[in-house]
Symmetry: C2
């Protein structure tokens, strides 16, 4: 039976056969030879996820002073049923991610079809051919218990395997540039030793040829400036030795907009790895703080969002203050403090923990339960309560559902037997909660709703007329605003229509 | 026996007698009459502490479009042995606070001596004469146990008494503008009811004449821009009713630089009170987070200050990230989260607490113990260890010792029988730790020191040559840098001289 990989659009791609792989190796060799003849260096990007696939195009798109490509890029994705479809899709010039950034399809088309210096493959052999590998393997934190991030850990096995593949293939002078967000210590204590082991197995003298390992983290923001957030933004980097640092600086200088956004070099990969997880912990903590104050504000008649605006007037010292909402989602703020906390013990054998950051993750993870409390103030019994949840992505105006707080909201509502329908104009599929159909029409979720939860601040929801929402339900539903989506006028309009209104951080309602 | 009040410069002032007070009342009446004839409104400032005395001059200094003073200002300070000296001192045109801001003596001289529209008094009778009272009564949080800020409370009795004095004196149409940082709820639940009670006692119809109460908090920074930080900066305000809000806006518009720094009005005094304590809680939490990461960084060879610089490159989203140090001092960050947490239960009868903020206060309060841990890594036994602590103020280049973390450091070192000497070029007296002589000469603290702690980042300390420090001790002392005062070169120089060096957040040493 032929194994296949199914793309989100439903198209099936058979996984490559041994014979096809053999052909592929010849193709890879041939391409590489041709490209070297053109004076280009050869780069592989390992892992074509949210970061890797776009990073690969940014590298391919880099030009020298004569407007010629500096690099040829092989994107590598393993031939798994889950992800292989990305390889043939990319090779037609189509991005494997959907985005509101117009530059995404443009840059894929430009590199794959026009410049012809970016191509995807699933063949590990590719690593024997390259000067630089950019590691973009996905790496997640596992939280075994809800609201107990202190028990969270990081399963490095797939990551280790990916690095071992590199160690058994790359030339000793190939730079391994880790771009994945990793637990602090990973380059020094995981990547370097594995590469050394594999080099030794291959008879390479690691004293003469110590592995070249660097770390530089991206600060990608999926959204309207997806590509720019990788290319035109501040970068921090370091390496395990001088040569690694030098090669990494050269590579990033060629690839990124370092004139406008000069590079920041740190003394050690530990520092660069720590920097990434600390910057996200800073934001996670910041949000957790606001939730506590939101609860207080709600009980004393205060609109915390107006307070926040007042505080943020102090530019440079107070304008980073974030805001409360349904909860915290996405791939970074939910896991990065856990990676750091886990690394303390697991990679460094240290006692102690990052309490402030970890408690903040717990507050953030359990935040959606506060919205359920708001509902219960009006409907103490959730059983058979009809709830329309508007918004299931983790951020406004985006279709990304990774670690979305709406998932927690929906799951806990259903646990108490509420009848929940979900809606999101941006979401095509909700893989994290597959049993939930995400509707795109209001008609499919609003009729008969007892409660309408504005879970995410999509602009589209902001524009919804109270008359429309209320008449669509055919009731006087409870309106719950989790994202400061309703202003004082809209709230007054809902009340004039006989609705009760509640809101996270909105005590003045 | 004549009671006296002794100024910090040692000069004694006898407290006023009953006879003098009677004369003073006549003077106050006469002045006020004359000033009203000049078309000026009359303002009292209640409490001439760090904020009140400078705020009084800012009000007096305000001019109309013709360059004429808008207000006459009576500064009021109770005739206590502790504080009465401020009254006669101010009335000679001399500020009762020392400051590095040149504008402080200038504005006092200008208003008291030249414009003659600011004068201090200790006579409560003054409140019968005024249109506006600005309340600047000191209000502190009490933390009954070290490192247990959750038990902290706010003793409002002196504050209540001050407000009661106003209630029994002011005209019903006088605006009471609370500028003191107060627990959220204070204007509504403390100030307004007390004024109502006193009004009723005086036969005033509080339905026709509801007390006029507003709240607007300052954001003063003692230091080079002391006066400007009050006058030329963002202000938030609110009031308990429309009339209060209107009068408060008018007053602040006359007095402050609202063209460059427009006012922010909030819906309720609860909101404005909460805003102040939340903005300081934001910073307290931010610092607590960095301490945890500093400890981690120290153990894995990372310089957290360089990491911080790297993170702060992200302007607008990450540049508020603060830095670890010896600890957190001053009057605001140490107490404001406690005021808020206490108000939840005490003023609103609510359950719950502001955990993130309160835990942060605990981390910050106990932070100086971490510096002792650093010392113990080299000297496990503190008994008879000679420690020179350089810096006892709570902030660099400032003589303010209020809630200074150096106090905790010195106390805990002495508890373990270390022999501690303290030095600070800016500090004239250390009232919080009177048994400690604060030296101004290095010769008085460095000779024979086993440990030199750079506790505060005064510029003067930053410029100290390692050769000078080491030769002054006559030993190879352990150098402890709590404030990122030493750069990599200075550290190398100390090491070359045979010293060990440790530093908060400096794992690369």
């Amino acid at each position: 039976m032929l194994k296949t990989s199914i793309a989100p659009d439903g198209k099936e791609y058979p996984l490559p056969t041994a014979e096809e792989n053999e052909k592929e190796r010849l193709i890879l060799e041939q391409i590489t030879k041709e490209q070297r003849a053109l004076g280009r260096k050869i780069v592989a990007v390992q892992g074509l996820g949210f970061v890797g696939c776009v990073m690969a195009t940014v590298v391919a798109d880099a030009e020298d002073s004569n407007g010629k490509p500096v690099y040829y890029v092989h994107g590598h994705q393993r031939a798994s049923a889950r992800s292989y479809w990305k390889v043939p899709m990319i090779n037609t010039g189509v991005p494997p991610v959907s985005s509101s950034d117009e530059e995404v399809p443009q840059i894929f088309h430009r590199c794959v079809v026009e410049k012809k210096n970016f191509r995807a493959t699933s063949e590990d052999f590719v690593y024997t051919l390259v000067d630089v590998v950019v590691v973009d393997i996905q790496l997640d934190a596992t939280k075994p218990a809800f609201g107990e991030a202190e028990k969270g850990y990081c399963d490095l096995s797939a990551f280790r395997e990916g690095i071992r593949t590199l160690g058994s293939h790359i030339r000793p002078d190939c730079l391994v540039l880790v771009e994945t967000t990793v637990p602090p210590g990973t380059c020094e204590k995981v990547v370097k030793p594995i590469l050394e082991e594999e080099f030794i197995k291959r008879g390479i003298d690691i004293v003469k040829n110590p592995p070249l390992v660097a770390h530089s983290y991206e600060r990608v923001m999926p959204g309207e400036h997806y590509v720019a957030s990788i290319r035109d933004f501040w970068r921090v980097f370091s390496g395990v030795n001088e040569k690694s640092i030098e090669l990494c600086r050269e590579f990033l200088t060629n690839v990124l907009n370092v004139e406008q956004y000069p590079l920041t070099q740190l003394d050690h990969t530990n520092a660069s790895e720590l920097s990434k997880v600390m910057e996200n912990s800073y934001r996670a903590t910041n949000i957790a703080l606001t939730l506590e104050w939101a609860k207080f504000a709600e009980q004393i008649g205060v609109d915390l969002f107006k307070v926040r605006d007042a505080i943020r007037k102090r530019k440079g010292t107070h304008d980073n203050l974030l805001r409360p909402s349904l909860g915290v989602g996405g791939y970074c703020l939910t896991k990065d403090p856990v990676l750091a906390n886990w690394a303390m013990g697991a990679l460094f054998g240290l006692e102690g923990s990052l309490d402030v950051a970890i408690r903040s993750v717990n507050i953030n993870d359990t935040m959606p339960l506060h919205t359920i409390e708001l509902i219960k103030k009006v409907y103490p019994e959730l059983r058979n309560l009809k709830v329309a949840v508007l918004g299931v992505s983790y951020l406004e105006n985006l279709g990304d559902t990774r670690h979305s707080p709406s998932k927690t909201l929906v799951e806990f509502l259903r646990k108490d037997f509420a009848l929940v329908k979900t809606h999101d104009p941006y979401v095509e599929a909700w893989p994290e909660l597959e049993e939930s159909v995400v509707e795109r029409e209001y008609d499919a979720v609003l009729p008969e709703a007892d409660v309408v939860v504005f879970a995410v601040g999509h602009d589209q929801y902001r524009k919804l007329k109270p008359e429309f929402v209320v008449s669509s339900t055919g009731k006087k539903p409870l309106i719950v605003d989790c994202s400061n989506l309703l202003n004082d006028d809209t709230i007054a309009a809902y009340k004039a229509l006989g609705c009760k209104v509640k809101g996270v951080g909105k005590g003045h309602i």
